[in-house]
């Protein structure tokens, strides 16, 4: 069993295998199940992701009314062809947003690695799909590759906003996505690790400050930016750019930052954007709680 990214990369490179293959084999071993069982279980998760993206792109609205409809706006904007950043990035962003809008509306999603960060991995996957034309198996492998890196973060740091801030949720998701994009695009396991490191470095310190305690503001837009971050970092790694700080040390830094982060900034809705005048106003409007009751 690999304990960190260095071991994961070493395992993959010494056996001339993909990261996804190492993850599949480990899962077969741990669960004592056949390859077919494990692949079909992941296929089911992929289906849920597809359905969530499709639903979000059609337009959803959350119960609070705070979020919904932005994925539609983005898709219409892409269709006009006047965008500045790039079609694949914007497509990834819109699909990440779509998934998280469905999540906020209490729809069915696949936690990747958590529900609040469920948009980034499928958002990037379905966007690069248009570019790389993967087979169904390659799409399933994308999830195993992402899972392998998430597995390391979950075991060595944290993937929960309450424990480690949003850097642990959207940050982990973006790093996982970047690493998986690299594998799908034909990069090496080491390049996947570089992409993960570059992404996570740029998510360090990100606080978890949900307005009114809802997984909506700023969560949906952070999934959007997590997806964009992952796309750019994957391109950087594929271009040969490396991270001066090794991936495992970045993960360790993320863990330590999470530990020293005040509780008010870890999913308690007591600080950050949740504590802004508008954040408090929205909270009072949604729950009818007097503004001085909290914080």
């Amino acid at each position: 069993m690999f304990r960190n990214v260095a071991e994961l990369v070493e395992l993959a490179e010494s056996q001339n295998k993909k990261v996804s293959e190492i993850m599949i084999e480990q899962e077969m071993e741990v669960k004592q199940k056949t390859r077919e069982d494990i692949m079909s279980f992941m296929d089911r998760n992929l289906e849920v992701m597809e359905q969530a993206v499709e639903r979000g792109i059609q337009g959803v609205k959350s119960h609070s009314g705070l979020t919904g409809g932005d994925a539609v706006l983005l898709q219409k904007y892409i269709e006009k062809g006047q965008f500045l950043s790039g079609e694949t990035i914007l497509d990834a962003v819109s699909k990440a947003v779509a998934t998280n809008e469905v999540n906020a509306a209490m729809g069915t999603i696949c936690a990747t690695p958590t529900a609040g960060s469920a948009g980034v991995v499928p958002g990037t996957l379905f966007a690069v799909k248009a570019k790389l034309n993967p087979t169904r198996e390659e799409m399933i492998r994308f999830l195993f590759a992402a899972g392998a890196f998430g597995f390391v973060v979950a075991n060595n740091a944290s993937i929960s906003g309450a424990a480690g801030g949003c850097q642990a949720e959207v940050g982990s998701a973006a790093g996982m996505a970047a690493a998986a994009i690299v594998e799908m695009a034909g990069g090496t396991p080491a390049q996947s690790a570089e992409a993960m490191a570059i992404t996570l470095k740029n998510m360090l310190g990100l606080v978890c400050d949900p307005v009114a305690g809802l997984v909506e503001v700023p969560c949906v837009k952070r999934n959007a930016m997590g997806a964009a971050n992952a796309m750019v970092a994957a391109d950087m790694a594929l271009a040969g750019v490396t991270s001066r700080i090794p991936c495992d040390e970045v993960i360790d830094a993320m863990f330590k930052i999470g530990q020293s982060m005040p509780t008010a900034l870890k999913e308690t809705a007591q600080g950050g954007l949740a504590a802004t005048p508008t954040g408090r106003e929205l909270e009072a409007k949604i729950f009818g709680i007097p503004l001085n009751k909290r914080g």
């Binding site: 899962e27 004592q32 998760n45 469905v102 209490m106 999603i109 993937i159």
Partner: protein, 220 residues
């Protein structure tokens, strides 16, 4: 290692919006129900830390009650769990506790009916994974790093041996085992951590043993 399976990272399939506050909460509720062995008539739920601060926004309340109604994390009925509980005349109370708990996402559930009561403390550690840290006043000494089951049994000769025999038969190595009881000859608890995943077949076989009243997976 707290996370053993890639499906803890890519998964679970669930109703949003939060894996620790919704899916994890549903699982804590469902373990409570499973240990109780039937649908409770009432439940008093105390919430601590982030659970206490944000449970309404995250749907933690509906998820916990959904779990008590035996709904899985992806069951869409979770959304209407409070109404469903009301229809079933299940009495639910929530308390927002100020006390600081060891983990930011902690819930204490007391539940019962005319025949009995049960109390447990569960924590949601992220990504939908949970641990049960206390049951009926017994502290469960679980590392959380290994799959674990909880066996409620009558304090009788051979009960413990019969359980360990079955684990041996399935080649499950016991890493840690804790046995505790309230009084001699009364209800007792075995908390067993093993080195590999526990199949449903093992759980079923354990349940069929004499003097074993309840077998529940508490760490996957």
């Amino acid at each position: 290692m707290k996370y053993k399976s890639v499906f803890d990272i890519i998964g679970p399939v669930m109703i949003g919006p939060s894996s620790s506050h919704t899916a994890g909460a549903a699982r804590i509720g469902r373990v409570a129900r499973s240990l109780f062995g039937r649908e409770p008539k009432w439940a008093d739920i105390s919430l601590y830390g982030s659970f206490a601060k944000t449970y309404k926004g995250h749907g933690t309340d509906v998820a916990l009650v959904g779990g008590l109604l035996d709904f899985d994390t992806f069951d869409e009925r979770i959304i209407n769990a409070l109404e469903i509980a009301k229809e079933k005349k299940m009495k639910i109370k929530f308390r927002e506790e100020e006390a600081i708990s060891d983990h930011p996402n902690t819930a204490r559930i007391k539940l019962g009916d005319d025949l009995g009561e049960l109390e447990l403390v569960g924590i949601s550690i992220g990504g939908g994974k949970i641990e049960i840290t206390e049951l009926n006043g017994f502290q469960l000494k679980l590392s959380g790093h290994h799959p674990a089951i909880l066996v409620v049994h009558n304090d009788r000769f051979g009960a413990i041996a019969s359980v360990s025999n079955i684990l041996a038969k399935y080649e499950l190595n016991i890493g840690q085992m804790d046995v505790s009881r309230k009084e001699k000859g009364q209800m007792a608890l075995m908390t067993i951590e093993v080195d590999s995943m526990i199949d449903d077949a093992v759980i079923e076989e354990l349940k069929s043993l004499p003097n074993i009243t309840q077998v529940t997976r508490i760490v996957d």
